[in-house]
Subunit: 465 residues, 2 copies
């Protein structure tokens, strides 16, 4: 299993290199102003289904806004789209991506409320991962002056989802307690920040232990995702918690319900447990589905409990709740301007690095949001040339890429975190650096396949935490 993991990653890494090279060549040969670079998903499956290529540039229809994209958000849902585990996706080839930020380039007929040159962030029903997108005006919001494009691309989906779950569905109030899975992710960090805007809210976060040093200050109690969190939470709150936010699904649904206080609310907002390998696994899918406890309303009556599902994209694109989302966005932008919330950006990636970025989110390596920076050049080390090298010669390149990825990640992340947590203390407890060439300390007891990720990301954590 360890070897499989290691092999898969190595293989993936070189698939990325190869395809990125191809993508680059496509782009570089382009001189047509009516064309644009875009990430294309050629078919549902693994990372090799993604490529960067040229595509005809869209023009805005009635009521649409054409945006010159600067940054796009990458979400776990994009992995599920790639694997083909979402309901009713468009037929591939398709351009993935549901959110972006950029500058208004032109407006469709009868489009009002925006002017050319406006800095905006937007939801898009697919097609976000491109140099240009068109989307209905109802999904577009003006950015505050002080917000960067990367922040804006990290803001919309995560903060709107977190806000609506906490305040529209669960009615978060003073003194309540919230448990959030994947506390280190984009939504998890948004939840933590929004909870801190309400007095005396206790946040229980669950995250991989190598992220703990980085996110410890954002939550009240932090547990490793591998421990029995039910027992840990009950030690602190024997009665349970008021809100459980679950993006994992599977057996966590039953666990979440059992952790609720009377009148507590469990909200399912994702199903990342359905993703295990690089491609869609029917076994994982079936297991997750099977483990989801079907709920008898009579049981909810006896226990005074609430169960909810929340999908922001369905709300926007299938159920037409744009005006509600707009009102939520207005409230969030107020909180941003009052410096009460600030999106956490994990790292910036070129379009051509989309596979590495996706691998990072697949490995749950990110803290905060992964951003595709449309104007960023792909790493010069990543070219198809290295594919011709022998395996032994490739290793230093791989290590160098890890170091570079580490530096970029760290810079982006520390910029964000330091601005909202300037007094963060340094981590002296994080020691799991096995395999990291930067570190003199090695934990030889750590499992190798875990180490590959722990090395790359845990070092990054240590450097700033």
């Amino acid at each position: 299993m360890a070897k499989e993991g290691a092999d898969m990653t190595e293989e993936t890494e070189f698939m990325i290199d190869k395809n990125v090279g191809k993508g680059l060549e496509n782009v570089e040969s382009s001189g047509n102003a009516k064309e644009m670079r875009a990430v294309i998903l050629a078919g549902f499956g693994g990372l090799n289904k993604l490529k960067v290529t040229k595509k005809a540039m869209p023009e805005p229809q009635d009521g649409e806004v054409k945006i010159r994209v600067k940054a796009c958000g990458l979400n776990f849902l994009d992995l599920m789209v790639r694997q083909g585990t979402v309901d009713n996706p468009p037929k591939p080839p398709l351009v993935p991506g549901f959110e972006c930020s950029g500058i208004v380039e032109s407006l469709g007929e009868s489009t009002k409320g925006f002017e050319i040159g406006d800095r905006v962030m937007a939801f898009v029903n697919y097609n976000a991962w491109a140099e240009v997108v068109c989307t209905p005006v109802d999904f577009v919001y003006k950015m505050p002056d002080e917000m960067t494009f990367a922040e804006a691309a990290a803001f919309s989906l995560n903060f709107v989802a977190a806000y609506m779950m906490l305040f529209e569905v669960a009615s978060l109030r003073e003194g309540m307690s919230v448990l959030v899975h994947s506390a280190g992710g984009g939504v998890g960090q948004a939840v933590a920040q929004l909870c801190s805007t309400v007095p005396n809210v206790t946040v229980f976060g669950i995250a991989s232990c190598f992220k703990h040093a980085a996110i410890r200050d954002s939550v009240t109690h932090l547990f490793d995702r591998n421990v029995d969190y039910i027992q840990e939470v009950k030690k602190i709150c024997p009665e349970g918690v008021d809100v459980v936010l679950d993006c994992l699904c599977g057996e966590n649904t039953g666990k979440g319900l059992s952790l609720l206080k009377p009148l507590g609310t469990y909200i399912l907002y994702g199903a990342s447990n359905m993703v295990t390998g690089e491609t869609k696994s029917f076994f994982s899918f079936a297991k997750s589905w099977w483990q989801v406890e079907k709920v008898n309303p009579i049981k909810l009556y006896e226990e005074n409990k609430v169960i909810a599902g929340f999908s922001l994209l369905n709300l926007l694109f299938k159920q037409g709740r744009c005006s509600l989302v707009k009102s939520v966005m207005d409230k969030l932008l107020c909180l941003y301007e009052q410096k009460k919330i600030k999106p956490v950006v994990d790292s910036l990636w070129a379009l051509e690095e989309v596979k590495e970025a996706m691998q990072r989110i697949h490995d749950r390596g990110n803290i905060g949001k992964l951003i595709l920076d449309v104007e960023k050049s792909p790493t010069p080390l990543v070219t198809s040339a290295i594919l011709k090298w022998p395996a032994t010669a490739r290793r230093p390149v791989k290590q160098e890429r890890k170091k570079r990825s580490l530096r970029e990640t760290t810079t982006a992340r520390s910029e964000c975190l330091s601005s909202i947590r300037p007094n963060k203390t340094h981590c002296n407890t994080h020691r799991d650096w096995t395999g990291c060439t930067d570190s003199p300390q090695r934990n030889t007891t750590t499992h190798k396949c875990v180490c590959m990720y722990v090395c790359m990301y845990a070092c990054a954590v240590c450097m700033y935490a």
Copy 2:
């Protein structure tokens, strides 16, 4: 079926007479100050399991309040207790009843916050239907000066439940829509009044058509419980409603969920569909249970829906949420003092008339709350003597009792309703008076077994509506 219904009622009526007579004799022979009258449920089953008898008077324990009871609330749940369809009831013989109002007679050691002579309303974990009850101080609330004991006994359970469902679970806000089953019942009328305290809330009420004239002004749209309400609501709100409040259960759970808007909340707060005949029906129970759609959380995720269960008694007596209920009661008493809400009392009954009262709630004949008035004398017409009369001679007595019941009902109800709806227009559409000796108009097409109840209650409706 029709005949069965008619026979059952006739039989029940004489069972009541017989047992009330017995109860009365017991009481009249009592001269012991340490004894009290109470309604006793001898075993789970039909109306014949109820009797009024003497019982040792309880004394308050530490932290308890002893209340000289003036009025008790009768709820549909009491029928389910009688039939033995609730979970873990105390072993009979038991005294039913969960709420009452009265005067503080003494206090247990360390009981604070009340003085002897205080007018109070209280929740009791069984034992309410008696001349004296003791209950922990956390379940006792002072009554406003202008509130009558009957109103107080009609207030606690219905308004607290309605308020918590609307505002704690569903977060009712301006412009929302609410569908409520049994809109003519105690909770239904409380829901309607509380909705009117929020601007622009649309209330869809479902009730038997003979109640429509009486409750039409309390809701925005009113549908007969026998029509396809899904279609009717969708004609007005194609998108569905924000809140569904369901006390019926069974197939209505699936229907309620299907009627929800995105982000809408379905709340199950009762299972009256499980009660069909006079005694527990395993068939009805199994059917209701089977028809309750088990909910897959993944479906809720896709549809952005919320499903909740609410049981105020479990919240109070099993889950210890007294302080939350106290805060809700404080808000409700403010609304009462501002004359924004006022409990609707359907009718007052002596303890000895508990079976007739129960039959009325079983037949869904009530509009608002049924109250057991502890100080009310049972009707002088109801004595065991009439059992000796031949069947032909009993008929006029029965008719006279209907008329009297009608007058009392009408007086109690109109007092309540007129005070909150002084300008109510007269009903010119209600015509279903078959079998009523008061009415010159008869609808000969109406089914006989239905007529027996329709006559008695519908005429009452017509008289004031």
